[in-house]
Amino acid sequence: MWKSGLKQLAAAAGLLGLMSAGAVAQDKELIIGMQCDRTGPTQIVGTTLCPAYHDYVALINSKGGVEGWKIKVIEIDHEYKVPPAMEAHERFKKEGAIFHSVYGTPQIAALAKKLEEDKMAATSPGFGSAAAADGKRFPYIFPVAATYWSQATVAVQFAKKQLGGNLKGKKIAYIFFDNPAGKEPIGVLEDLAKAEGFQMRTFGVPSPGIEMGAQILDITGRFKPDFVIAHLFGRAPAVAIKELKGKGFPLSKVVGFVWASSEADILAAGGWNIAEGYHTLQYAGVGRDYQVIRDIEAMYKAQNKEIPKQMIDNSVMYNRGIFQAAIQIEAIRLAVVAKKGEKPTGQDVRDAFERVKNFTLGGLAPPLAITPEDHEGGGWVQVWTVKGGKFVKTTDWQQAYRDVIKKHLADEAKK
């Protein structure tokens, strides 16, 4: 009895020893801290985006890593709450992370100062403040993807093209989720309305945005716009599509911002037939026709595993996860190259970000040109349209009215 207990103890000690040996063996690795929301209010994004992120990292590691360095991702789920995100930052510092992949608008706002103090860079693709595109004011934050301001400019340019190249005297409705993120582009839209001579009216939808009959009726019945720009989150985009369709408004005259544009939204609205013609803005490519996606499929095949369901069902969010991981790892690669193969610091990765150029991932990523002034990389968006049961690319990467954005950034900096 006593002896067997001893044996078990010895076995346990041996196992513990093995475990710690395993931990020590992989010393040539770079650590990225990654926040995620798999269980909170935006889990519809996180449950697809985060696995995609890990898939890309696994792909890079299976090819030998970044210049010989393996990438290790520490993920922390914060349920879209701020305190766990702040805790996560300290945790990542403890683990020696060289980069912090932040997720969520309130989270990046709360961490902005901390990142600067700790000299650790972060990306905020598709969320966060548009003012963060100003690299001089926010040296450690990289929006990377088009901010809401840039999305607004492209949406107006797209509307202009769809309405025959002239917006003079036209009416555009802006329906938005009534929170800070939803209100952010209003200033830019108002400026564009003045410059292009169109009439703009805003329609706020209160959280959680599943009841907007009044706003849609106001749009379709009273305002009768020539074009609708929708900036909605969560379940709201689906409701908007359904309601607009129900009131007989042509969906080909509607463009949704990046969080109103995933396959999940279309399905929730009642399917591809219902949403036929609906335009969406995308900051990463849609679908599976990219080399990097094929590589990941091959990686899964090589391991005799099924490819992840999300990759097919929700390619919009999946590809955004790929884009997010890829752009960060590209910056880390540049940092390693600059250090001639030595381990980069958080500061090195930040500096490398400002040199990211010509990194398009075979068309999945926009043609970014990140500079010390412009951390947004140009504000590139593609328009994809619902056509025959899938998203079809309507325009290639485009940017618009950069002077208006510059003016707004300058105004913000003066505040």
Binding site: C36, Y53, K94, P106, A109
Partner: protein, 434 residues
């Protein structure tokens, strides 16, 4: 014995009212204070403990201030509030506006924290008093809904008033607090900064509840009509309770704004109000110790579960992505939450043992089955990949956390504080229990 009392030997009112009736209580308080004020920082400075852990403590300290405030209202005065986080945002925006709009020439920099903290508290107290007015006419669930409305109204007002919110982003940068010209920005400095206010809040609450005001609160909680008959001005004390509670919330909001360097109402939404209610219900209504235990429970447990699952989960779990975890979670929510509310309601305690057992089983069985189902289905010795493990950790965190809340409340509906008291009472006469 130094820690036992063998009877009541108090000969003066002062002794009867003492904060620490027994020497051991004084010793314990000194011990815990020494631990947080000296031992933990020393451990960090000498490298025994990583700086990271200070952040967890800092968040606990900030939450203690807010939770104590809520407990004064809910635990001691018996008025419910689901709008506590909104008062925190009032405090946060007060400091945000004061540090940016008050001319920097007056103080040679942004307004110092020793002014902004009381100012944030007072502003929240003012608004809290207004919100408390319905409590004069309505009680219980009705008041809960009224305070819920206040949460939404305050959020809406902040969101739609640029003069308060500072523009479309509804966030105001708050500079770090300065003390004698020194910016408090390292985790250690922030740790001491928040610790100070947590200690002040704890001492203030302990004194408040044994004062005339505190006793009036308790009288109102126990039976408001009787309290009125013995001469307690219900109008005044109910509003006072709301004011004091909101003052704490405001201070908590200011501290959080300093901690995160930003005032942003999105950090104080309804889920945070619920979190604070959970803290005091788990910890123990009407108990300072309970509040502290509840805060530690709610803040620490998710972190602990996450760390354990990510560290060891890989040894037992493989391929969790094949499971439909979100549907399992939903089942759990549907079962768990109403029962949790039921457990929290005082009347449930009087339902009798068997009813309680059955209801508890109804809550725990599906929860346990889901967890067991996940584990057995996936049992294997393979290592899971990082992605799957992270997904697992995120979901398990919620499942285990919910189950533990149910468990603790079933074991002791009056919270962790009562649990601790039971243990202490047992050992007080040990080994000569009767």
């Amino acid at each position: 014995m130094f820690h036992r009392e063998a009877g009541t030997f108090k000969t003066s009112y002062a002794k009867d009212m003492a904060l620490f009736p027994l020497p051991i209580a004084k010793g314990a308080a000194a011990f815990f204070l020494a631990t947080v004020a000296v031992a933990i920082p020393a451990a960090v400075l000498t490298g025994l403990m990583h700086e990271y852990y200070l952040t967890i403590f800092t968040q606990i300290f900030i939450a203690i201030v807010g939770a104590l405030g809520l407990n004064i209202l809910v635990g001691w005065t018996g008025q419910i509030s689901i709008g506590h986080a909104a008062f925190m945002s009032v405090g946060a925006y007060t400091v945000g506006n004061l540090v940016t709009k008050v001319p920097h020439e007056i103080f040679g920099g942004p307004m110092p924290f020793w002014l902004t903290i009381p100012a944030g508290g007072l502003m929240a107290a003012l608004i809290g008093t207004v919100v408390g007015i319905p409590s004069l006419r309505i009680k219980g669930t009705y008041l809960a809904i009224a305070t819920l409305a206040s949460q939404l109204i305050i959020e809406w007002i902040i969101n739609h008033t640029p003069a308060i919110s500072g523009g479309a982003g509804a966030s105001i940068q708050v500079p770090r607090p300065t003390l004698f010209g020194n910016e408090l920005k390292t985790p250690m400095e922030i740790y001491y900064f928040t610790l100070f206010f947590a200690v002040v809040a704890i001492v203030a609450t302990m004194n408040l509840v044994r004062s005339r005001i505190g006793r009036a609160f308790v009288a109102i909680r126990d039976q408001d009509i009787a309290a009125e008959i013995i001469g307690i001005n219900i109008f005044r004390y109910k509003l006072l309770s709301f004011a004091i509670s909101s003052f704490y919330a405001g201070v908590c909001g200011v501290l959080f704004a300093y901690y995160s360097s930003i005032a942003n109402y999105e950090a104080f939404q309804i889920n945070i109000s619920i979190d604070y209610l959970a803290m005091i219900i788990i910890g123990g209504l009407g108990s300072v110790l309970g509040t502290i235990l509840g805060v530690i429970f709610v803040q620490l447990l998710p972190v602990a579960i996450r760390e354990v699952v990510t560290a060891y989960g890989g040894y037992v779990i493989a391929n969790p992505e094949q499971m439909q975890l979100d549907s399992l979670l939903r089942t759990l929510m549907i079962w768990g939450i109403p029962l949790l509310v039921l457990l929290a309601v005082r009347r449930f305690v009087s339902l009798g043992f068997w009813t309680r057992l059955i209801v508890t089983l109804l809550a725990i069985v599906p929860a346990a089955m889901t967890a067991l189902g996940v584990l057995t289905y996936l049992f294997g010795s393979q290592f899971a990949n990082t992605s799957a493990l992270s997904a697992m950790a995120a979901s398990l965190k919620l499942i285990i956390f919910g189950m533990l809340i149910i468990f603790f409340l079933v074991v002791e509906p009056e919270g962790l504080a009562r649990l601790w008291r039971n243990v202490r009472n047992y050992f007080r006469v040990w080994p000569f229990s009767y």
